[in-house]
C-alpha cells in the first residue's frame, strides 16, 4: 500500500532567497515569481482563525461576544460586510471603517473603553493584537465579493471629499502628499511598484489586496496600520488610530475601488 502512494513534496520557504540580478527586467521578473510563490498559501489564515474564535468569545466587563455586532448588514452579519465599508452608521451617526466599527461594538456590547482599545492596535513580535486578528477574520469573510462602498448618505459623500483632500494634502519637510507617490502609472520607489490610486484600475488592485500578511514582519496588518506607516514614510506626524481623517481617507480609497472583487486578506513581502 505504502508503495502505491506516490509522493511529490514541495516545501515552500517564505524567506527571500538571495537572487542573482543581472539587470532590472530580470529582477522584476524574479519579484513576480516570488509573489506567485507567496500566493500558494497565506499565513493570514492563522490570524483569521484566531479572529473567528475571538469574535465568538465572551469578553470584556459585560462578558459578551461580538456576535451581535452590526457591521452594516445587520446584527451579526459578517459575510460581505467589509466589501461595503466604510459606511454611515445611524447609531453612532458617523461614517466608520472596519476598525472604528469594531471598537464601537467592543464598547457597546462588551463594555471596553475606546481610548484603551486605541492604545496598542498594532501587533509586534512580542505583542499579539486582538484587533488585527478580528480584522483578519472579518475581511476574510468578504473574499470574492464585489466592492460596493455606499456613497448615497451626505456624510459618506463628505467623508469621500475630505479623504480626497487629504490624499492631495502636501506638507512636512519633504512636501509629500499621498499623491506624490500614488498618482502616476507604472512608477516605482526603488524596486517597489507604486499603485496609481487616482485611477480605478490601480486603486482596485491595491485596495483589494489589503489588509495583508507581511512576510518580512511575520504579522498580519490592518488597513489602519497601512495608512499609519504611509504617513510615517511621508514624514508626517502620526495619525490618531481610527480618527476621522484616517476613516475619510479610507472612504476615498475604498470608494475608488468600487466594482472590483475583494481579494484579501493579501500577502505582501
Amino acid at each position: 500500500m505504502k508503495g502505491r502512494l506516490l509522493i511529490s513534496a514541495a516545501v515552500v520557504s517564505l524567506g527571500m532567497a538571495g537572487m542573482a540580478w543581472s539587470q532590472g527586467n530580470s529582477a522584476t521578473a524574479e519579484i513576480e515569481k516570488y509573489r506567485e510563490m507567496l500566493g500558494d498559501g497565506n499565513p493570514a489564515e492563522l490570524f483569521e482563525m484566531d479572529g473567528e474564535a475571538l469574535w465568538a468569545t465572551a469578553r470584556g466587563p459585560k462578558n459578551a461576544s461580538l456576535q451581535k455586532c452590526d457591521l452594516g448588514l445587520g446584527a451579526g452579519v459578517v459575510k460581505g460586510a467589509y466589501a461595503q465599508m466604510p459606511r454611515y452608521f445611524a447609531d453612532s451617526d458617523k461614517v466608520e471603517d472596519l476598525e472604528s466599527r469594531l471598537m464601537t461594538c467592543m464598547v457597546k456590547l462588551q463594555g471596553f473603553d475606546r481610548a484603551e482599545l486605541s492604545k496598542k492596535p498594532f501587533g509586534t513580535a512580542n505583542y499579539k493584537s486582538d484587533m488585527e486578528a478580528l480584522v483578519a477574520y472579518v475581511v476574510g469573510q468578504s473574499r470574492g465579493m464585489p466592492m460596493a462602498v455606499p456613497t448615497a448618505h451626505p456624510k459618506e459623500k463628505a467623508a469621500f471629499e475630505l479623504g480626497k483632500q487629504i490624499f492631495f494634502y502636501r506638507a512636512g519637510p519633504y512636501d509629500f502628499s499621498c499623491a506624490t507617490c500614488h498618482a502616476m502609472t507604472d512608477a516605482r520607489i526603488r524596486m517597489q511598484d507604486l499603485p496609481d490610486l487616482t485611477s480605478p484600475a490601480g486603486s482596485q488592485r491595491a485596495y483589494t489586496s489589503w489588509p495583508a500578511y507581511r512576510v518580512s514582519q511575520s504579522l498580519f496588518r490592518s488597513f489602519q496600520w497601512r495608512l499609519n506607516d504611509c504617513f510615517r514614510q511621508q514624514r508626517f506626524p502620526e495619525p490618531t488610530y481610527a480618527s476621522e481623517s484616517t476613516i475619510a481617507l479610507t472612504s476615498y480609497l475604498a470608494t475608488m475601488a468600487n466594482g472590483a472583487t475583494y481579494q484579501g486578506p493579501g500577502i505582501k513581502r
Binding site: 497565506n42 499565513p43 492563522l46 500578511y213
Partner: protein, 104 residues
C-alpha cells in the same frame, strides 16, 4: 503570534493537494533583540499521514520562514480520508492539525 495551524486537503483527478500553514516563530538563533540573542526555536520534523499511513517525513532547519506554508501533492488518497500534519521542534514542542480530504 497566532496560536494555531490550518490544514487543507483537496483531491483533483488522482492527486491530493495538502496545504499546511503552521504558526511557528522559526527562530534561527542568529537574530538579536536589543543586543540579546533570541534562542533558536524551529521545527525539526514535519510529517503527513493520510488514512493512518505516513506519506511524508520532512526534516527542516532554520532556512524556513516563520509561519511557514507547506504544500504537498499525494497520489492514492480518496475523498473522506483523514490527512494529519504533525510537527516537533528543537525545544520538544509539538503541534498537529488535520483535514478530511475533499473533492477540489
Amino acid at each position: 503570534m497566532a496560536s494555531s495551524m490550518r490544514v487543507r486537503a483537496l483531491l483533483k483527478g488522482d492527486v491530493t493537494a495538502i496545504t499546511a500553514i503552521v504558526s511557528h516563530p522559526m527562530e534561527t538563533g542568529m537574530r538579536k533583540d536589543g543586543g540579546k540573542v533570541i534562542p533558536a526555536h524551529f521545527i525539526q520534523v514535519l510529517t503527513v499521514d493520510v488514512d493512518g499511513k505516513r506519506v511524508v517525513t520532512s526534516h527542516l532547519n532554520t532556512a524556513v520562514s516563520s509561519n511557514p506554508v507547506f504544500n504537498f501533492k499525494v497520489k492514492g488518497a480518496k475523498v473522506g480520508d483523514k490527512a494529519v500534519v504533525s510537527w516537533v521542534d528543537n525545544l520538544g514542542e509539538k503541534g498537529s492539525g488535520e483535514a478530511v480530504v475533499a473533492a477540489g
